[in-house]
Point group: D2
Chain length 499, copies 4
């Protein structure tokens, strides 16, 4: 069966419009946030999601629960700030317990996201109902789905969260946390979950802890968030990270109860969260993301020095590494590329001319600064290389003497199956070209990526990568997938041959 489409009710079709560099960045697909024990919990969730907007811009949803008004939900296309700040909407989400979700659609989907696929997913079942939202991917979701359908379940979305709800509905356990444990033991993959019943906020991280989830204290209540930056906005205090394989059940009365539903495993946190996904003002594993990125720049300057006049970040994500590179190399740092801050998701039914503008709508070269200089451009990653090429041309048009690219991540040669939007493998420049070939392809004077060991050093592993048992999930660079992507293999994906 194919996939029903429920087109957005929005007056304008935003789908024709994408970021000019779409497909040329890996995109985190989701951010999640939940809170319990505070008045107007949904307002806190809205603020948290606003701070997590970089993790998903296409749509968002919030579910709240109030003893008198039950579960309430709102799902909307567009930015959090455009929907979940309206008093008239927020009034429909009463209660002291709420969870929320922002999402970005996957490149592989058949088109636009459907509002029914926007999380949190809610289902009424015998224990009184639950809502759930996740960040990541269940790698055996399709097999589970087939099995559930065979037994008489019906599906209404293509969301992995619906699998979890169905597994919970069919569990023989007596309370919802136990049912969720039952359900989680059936799923494989890389995911962080926030869920809620009528009284409990629940958080789960998969056994490897690939996706982030942190715990905060806000007033008399508690919150869960993908990143610490969302704690700051609501004035919450960072307590700790949820541990890989941990499930927490939180109520206003009893606080946080922890359990371990999964078989223990060695953690493999996503190293790309450090490189690009997370906000620089978040703290992951006790490390400042900003500082890690700055340190990547330092490592890059050591690994791949070059004689030049200016270190220039590709806005905005290259900035911390460029600061580090400039500091280590002693070459002046400058804003050689200026970003138009009036961008957004609202280029509506644009003219042909606008569509063809691409990155020039967003970035402009600071000609007076660039002219005659040997420029080092520091970017976070190279995915398809299309944007890198355009930026190089803009820099040369402005009169740069030389252009050197320094990339704050190793070559991205493998797709991610753990909740990140990556192009198919053949579209990844590094899957088909060596560093030198890429340099020639981009037409720059030099191109250097940080080494995998250099990246590990920057995140604090002084010895670099433990090749036997890597400390992080780095499948996008190494092709070594810590969880078998079962659904994808069934669809024909070729794993890297064992060496």
């Amino acid at each position: 069966m194919s996939d029903p489409i429920f087109p957005p009710a929005h007056p304008f079709d935003f789908d024709a419009v994408r970021d000019p560099d779409d497909g040329d960045k890996l995109k985190e697909e989701c951010g999640i946030f939940g809170v319990v024990g505070v008045t107007d919990a949904a307002n806190f969730v809205a603020l948290g999601l606003h701070a997590l907007q970089h993790r998903g811009q296409e749509a968002g949803g919030i579910v709240s629960h109030h003893p008198d008004h039950g579960f309430n939900s709102a799902r909307r296309f567009g930015y959090v700030r455009d929907n979940f700040t309206r008093a008239s909407l927020m009034e429909t989400l009463p209660g002291q317990l709420a969870i929320g979700h922002v999402r970005y659609s996957t490149a592989g989907s058949k088109g636009q996201t459907q509002i029914r696929d926007v999380q949190p997913f809610f289902g009424e079942f015998s224990m009184g109902g639950a809502a759930i939202a996740h960040n990541g991917n269940i790698t055996n979701a399709e097999a589970l789905r087939r099995e559930l359908i065979e037994r008489g379940s019906i599906f209404q979305s293509s969301s992995d969260s619906e699998c979890i709800i169905h597994l919970m509905a069919r569990s023989l356990q007596r309370d919802i946390p136990a049912r969720m444990e039952d359900a989680l033991r059936r799923v494989e993959g890389a995911f962080s979950v926030v869920a809620m019943t009528r009284t409990k906020l629940i958080g789960v991280r998969d056994p490897l802890g690939v996706r982030p989830l942190v715990l905060g204290k806000v007033g008399d209540g508690w919150c869960l968030s993908s990143e610490t930056c969302a704690l700051d906005i609501i004035g919450a205090e960072f307590v700790r990270e949820i541990e890989p394989g941990e499930m927490v059940v939180i109520t206003a009365e009893k606080g946080v109860e922890s359990s371990r539903p999964f078989r223990p495993a060695k953690p493999r946190f996503c190293i790309f969260e450090h490189v690009y996904f997370s906000r620089p003002d978040s703290i992951i594993g006790g490390r400042s993301v900003y500082e890690t990125r700055r340190q990547i720049g330092v490592e890059l300057a050591r690994e791949a020095p070059v004689d030049a006049d200016l270190v220039c970040p590709v806005p905005d994500s290259g900035t911390p590494a460029a600061i580090g590179f400039a500091h280590e190399s002693g070459i002046p740092y400058g804003m050689g590329i200026v970003r138009n801050q009036y961008m957004g998701r609202t280029f509506i039914e644009p003219t042909e001319q606008i569509r063809n503008m691409g990155v020039r709508l967003k970035l402009n070269v600071n000609r007076a600064l660039i002219k005659g200089k040997r420029v080092i451009l520091v970017d976070d990653s190279v995915v398809r290389g299309t944007t890198s090429r355009k930026i190089k041309e803009m820099i040369l048009d402005a009169g740069a003497a030389e252009v050197h690219f320094r990339i704050a991540s190793p070559p991205t040669a493998w797709p991610c199956f753990y909740g990140v939007d990556t192009p198919q493998r053949e579209k990844l420049l590094a899957a088909t070209m060596s560093e030198d070939e890429m340099c020639a392809h981009l037409g720059v004077d030099s191109l250097k990526f940080i080494s995998l060991d250099g990246l590990y050093r920057a995140v604090g592993e002084a010895e670099g990568r433990d090749t036997k048992c890597p400390q992080y999930c780095d499948a996008c660079f190494s092709g070594e997938y810590p969880v078998e992507p079962a659904d994808m293999i069934e669809k024909g994906f070729q794993m890297k041959a064992a060496e």
Copy 2:
């Protein structure tokens, strides 16, 4: 568990605004339409729903199926003409098979309709998925729901249609029509259903045939509709009514296959469809609705004559009965009340003053015609009496010498549980007052309702009502419910004591 709210994505909150006479009319809750075997089937459904808009104005939905694009669906708040005429939306609903639904929310619901409760309801299950829409009510829906949940099903809407889909998903039968038969044998109530699989259009009427459903032929294809007026708009030929207790499975190739999944029963069609719900240009049971209403006026003139100068309909539903009354009595017919045709559902966040205008926004007295005259006002029904009172005042303000109400239905003393929006029993004027008390309450010179026997005569039963075995469902007048309203009784509804 309480009921999640998914507020409409509409920029304006139309829900604060209701027809000035809201709650003072019985409201049909739904209209259904389906078609198979024509190009761009969804367009036909849109036109059919436009013609059925009087059966439900709050929201509408269409599901279509195309071999290459699978099931597609669109659900929208608002009129059909405001949504399902847009080329950009209709293009997303390809295929030669489609069903649709218009709905009005029930008075008992906790507030606004939720988009997830808008039909057709779609579910993917092991036979490949099905979509379903119904008009009417399943009277044991809550018991079924509890049972299904107990067995591990999850519910996402409060729609009765979801029960049917779940029952189908759990059936052990091998094909969808057989699964639907399985499901239908579990449900009680008064309902007509249109459903679709990837290749089949299905229609069902409950054993008593309380709600209407007709079959039409359009080009090489077939259609199902709540009323014949929707056949006219697409140029379809009326074939026959689906019979009470009949299920038809229609494909473009094999045409119509009929079966009888239910235990046989004596039909009890809703008599109020003749009085008010159906459009006057529809034909029910071989009788013109318009002619029946005109005949009600004739009966009324015989049963309750009055010496007066003018017969005046309360627009628009009282018109045919007023024509009949005038014809039979010989008293001139005239438009004593004029309707503003620029009404609609879009009084947005209205000012206090607008809210207080009520029926005066919609109706204006034709002062020159009314002045000094003894006026007979013919209306279709009296529910709460609020509008009747306001109209009486307007007529007297305009200088009428006398005001006589003649009502084209018997006193509405009992709520309907078969898919009609009725106020709670205590709000029904006729539940607590005799005809004379109502006359005094409304402050008119006389008030007469047609007798139940007179109504039966007008619909063609020359002998009147068969009190042993009534030919129609007339529970709203008689309190005799042909199907036990199990869910309502569980909630405390008191049936009429046996006599």
Copy 3:
């Protein structure tokens, strides 16, 4: 110079969508309303305009004045009910003095109406500013415009009202009423005006009184309206009509002061207001519009009787004449055609199929009633004949034995230049065909128009039309234009040759 376009800011383009019978009705272009001496005057204007919506559906505007907040204005595309009921908008229009306008764009305009052409028109000049709105047409507007531009005025709209404001700005008189008198003496045409200064409500009717304007008393205040039906909705008492050639200046303190700025002339009120433009519940010249139309039906039955089974109105405007025809002829009256009440201006970007539906979207034949009958269809007018033809086909398809058209106005053979939207002369069926030719063209069994004398009798002129000095403006029937259409003649319009 060509005409600047300021497209509406509305998210949807309503302009592609017109009434299915567009161009086949004469359309009144404007309704005007003003009030002084009541709290929240703009709310009263909004209600008045809602009651006058039949006079113009494309756009509306309101200007109010408050001593502390000055002049405020809002102009919107769409229905009054969709704009001027919003509390948030109405709050921006404070004060005890306000005027408003609804308009319909002319067929001859180069495309969509421009928001800057929506009245009331406001200008600040030396006496403190004034706002003005008119119904009708200034026949020498273009000549005036050229003259004013030559002297240094700039124009921002194509509205005739702007001419009047400029003439006022250049007047040497000391107060605004005197300046308006100055201005009015320069303009020719057929127009009713409501205007306002900071303290005064002003009303004017042209010397012939072609367009209507009535005075009402509401509480301690006063109002002016195109029709009496708008007095009813706000509970105002009808005082009198403004007389042809009269100007009234109204303040809360001094009440109504009357003057006569124009040279006296014999009145020539528009007879088509009786036939079609005005609402049936309005009273014009002491006569009920409904009663006049009913009387037209009586005259028609006398002039053009026919042996038939059913008198059937073409909804909705043919209803009163059909009632009269049925009454006089003794042939039963019936609703042979049923109107879908869920029409409106919001068919948005409709599909091809919808566009081709035409009148079938709006009207459906009551097949059971029509079948086998000889039917008399009573319509208000025949303009291009396109709708008449489609209706005839629908009636025959439904099995009528004969179709006879009876038209409640004489043949429309000449365009109106006094504020009514008429097709060019060559598009008027009656401009090129005799009654018999039209009958053959429409393919009906008979076609009869009321005679011009019959129409005059129906409006109360027992002797019929005074051919020397007609009592009404009937240029659309007779080609005798009481005011020379100077601008149109300059553009090449050929007047009827003197006989």
Copy 4:
């Protein structure tokens, strides 16, 4: 007379929502752009305005001219990207000649901007009409307005541009450029103008050249722009600045013709354009804005050194000066404050909680970087000091050891009357406090502004400010107004006493 309000037709009221630091920045009010001699000129204008969006975010407008379609215009509230990228809108603006404008409303206005005040302003007069847009302010506009009204002109907006059009309409000259010269000789103030007739693009800079205007070559055509960054986006080549007091008349055929309608004067370009208004990638007077700002940071580091651990810009405008300060001082540069990039103008009807969030919605402290450090915050200016105070608190909350403010402009002590939105003088912190008092008021460890001489050095005046005859307009710092603000003085503004 007061000011009529024409509220925006937008479905949502954006006006309740402002940038959290509103009123705490000086705001450039306008950006202008024009082009002639290219196909689809309006598209070029749209792109140019997008690049100039930082000069005005509230509304924008474009007028184009096409020989067959005349003048066409569109004015919209909101961002350029949200309006002037729509194919359906841009198609209504055909032709090879177009001008456009973006604007920000002035703090002093009585509320929301009115669509009729959105430029370009168009008027039809005897030479065929002209459209005009300006950046800046006519200081004798009110006097001119009174005079024009006295002579019979009417005004429809409060825009200064309307004065110019009226003066042109009344000129006795024979061609439009000559009429514009006539008009310009009557106006005083600081303004740059782009205007257009049916064939000519016109640009003017006031005699002192306070506001910028540059000339570019694009293909076979020419363009005028407030800043060079808008030339880059359309691939235009920078030709030269329009000179102070120069008027250029440009046609596709004859190219650029220059004249000097004003009495010669010594230029006084706005120095604040260098400090804040212009984009860093623009070039003014041959100097890179970015480089000037970086140099301001260098000067600041020399004038007001401080022993600290981190130089941190207040995003985004403080960045170049912070880079310069860090470079000169040798103190590391870091992103201590992170900006949420998903801000915008669309916080709609926000909840109370959102309204109270203020700057925390937009900025978050990079806690790991700040903790324990002595931080130098570099900002562009201090206006009311409200944001500075909040940022200081956020920095201290994050654990900074010391907070030092370094401001890249001298104390802003006087309002600007030349087209910049400044609070009233008493709201300016520097108007009532000394530097030390401000330091105490803000509660920081130190606060230093760059000196006026230091600023002049940074813009390239090695000798600093020429106090006899300052090289720039620096009235906001010095209180020395190069053009007498006549209208403001009439309203009671007190000039600085002569020393």
